[in-house]
Amino acid sequence: MPKERKIIPAVFTLAVFIILEIASLRMVSSNGSLQRIWLARQAHFFQAKVWGGAQSVLQYFSLGKQNKALAEENHKLLLALGEKGAAKRDARADSLAGMLVRSDDFRYIPATIVKLSRNRQHNYLIIDKGSEDGVHLQDGIVTPSGIVGIVDAVEKHYSYAISFMNPEISISARLGTEGAVGPLSWDGKSRRGAVLKEIPLQFKFQPGDTVFTSGYSAIFPPDIPLGTTGEARIVNGATNEISVNLFQDFSTLKYAVVVENIGREEITSLEITAYGEEKQ
């Protein structure tokens, strides 16, 4: 017998069976009170199962929609979190600026370091403040623990700076608050090592003495503590070269303050004028 000719009688038999059973169940339900309650309970149980199953299927097919909604919510939360984080970072950077020994000749801009290289010979850093925030070329970047770098390129919202851990940078430093002044530069080896050069031999010092910024440069304000003196060696029989253990730990650096000398342009133009007159 062909397959279709077998299926049709089977479906018809099944339909008759279902109709007869439903008729029997209805009769049982309407004639027996116990059976009515029992059947109602079974029907509810069955409905709950079917409904639960249908709900699961519907939920499965609406997962894409739910995922989209969750992604949108996630995005909103991330934005909110980002705003909060930015506010927190600004607050921390502000508090850092407040910890600095202030000088009226300088303007202070709190900043967050967004990128910092530490393992190269020529290290650099990028901060989240740019020209729109008032950052200019040759501004200094400091923390209460020392010098971080000098701004070398400025964009609208970010600035690129040469790190102190770079042989190109040399800053003017003083031994103690009233001692000799000499150039301080990175030793090129460790993250907290620097060398203070050209200290005349007649100036006495003890290992552990503090080294400060001198204030002689137009970039950094005076009296920022930089580190403590270590071993010294005489160079060419004329000057001392002193190793300095820096306070600033570049491994944990996250926030900094941009310092801008308000009178720098005036000083610079004065220097240029004086230098020109000297030449003439």
């Binding site: 059973e21 008729a23 209805r26 004639n31 116990l34 309650i37």
Partner: protein
């Protein structure tokens, strides 16, 4: 269906009504010859016809006895639906294809007994479950099923000679 079968069927139906109304051995015993009556409906009748007969038989018993209307019909229609598969399983496909009448000499007492026990089990399982309506314990239902199953089988063996005579 030949006239003899119809007559015997109606007589046995009346006997079942009397059995349901007047013979109450124990709440643990449900005596019924209805499954074997449905099993012995001549095989030339289609499953649909067998189901309709079973439904009418069940209703008649329910109507004329003081049970819940529809209970016997509810349990007997599945017996009719499963009749052909049970016979096929027990006696093979040949008897169904030939549309022979079912009888003990044709398939043997053992196979016939197996078929009776199977349809009795289907009938009693549904009947006891629906009759108890969730108020009886599993133990009670189990005991009722076991006793009724054996009693029903023995009773069925008594009437099977009338329902399925050897027509060779």
């Amino acid at each position: 269906m030949n006239r003899n079968f119809i007559l015997v069927y109606i007589l046995l139906l009346a006997a079942q009504m009397l059995l349901s109304d007047f013979v109450r051995v124990s709440p643990y015993v449900t005596l019924s010859i209805l499954p074997v009556m449905v099993l012995c409906i001549p095989l030339r009748n289609s499953p649909v016809t067998a189901m309709l007969i079973a439904f009418a038989t069940g209703l008649a018993v329910d109507f004329f006895s003081d049970g819940v209307l529809g209970l016997n019909a509810l349990a007997l229609v599945p017996v009719a639906a499963l009749r052909n598969p049970v016979i096929r399983l027990v006696a093979g496909n040949e008897i169904i294809e030939k549309k022979d009448n079912l009888s003990v000499p044709k398939i043997g007492l053992a196979k016939f007994s197996t078929a009776i026990l199977m349809v009795q089990a289907v009938f009693l399982a549904i009947y006891i479950l629906a009759d108890g309506a969730g108020t009886r314990s599993l133990a009670f239902n189990g005991i009722r099923f076991s006793i009724s199953w054996i009693a029903g089988y023995l009773l069925s063996l008594l009437v099977v000679g009338f329902l399925a005579p050897d027509d060779r």
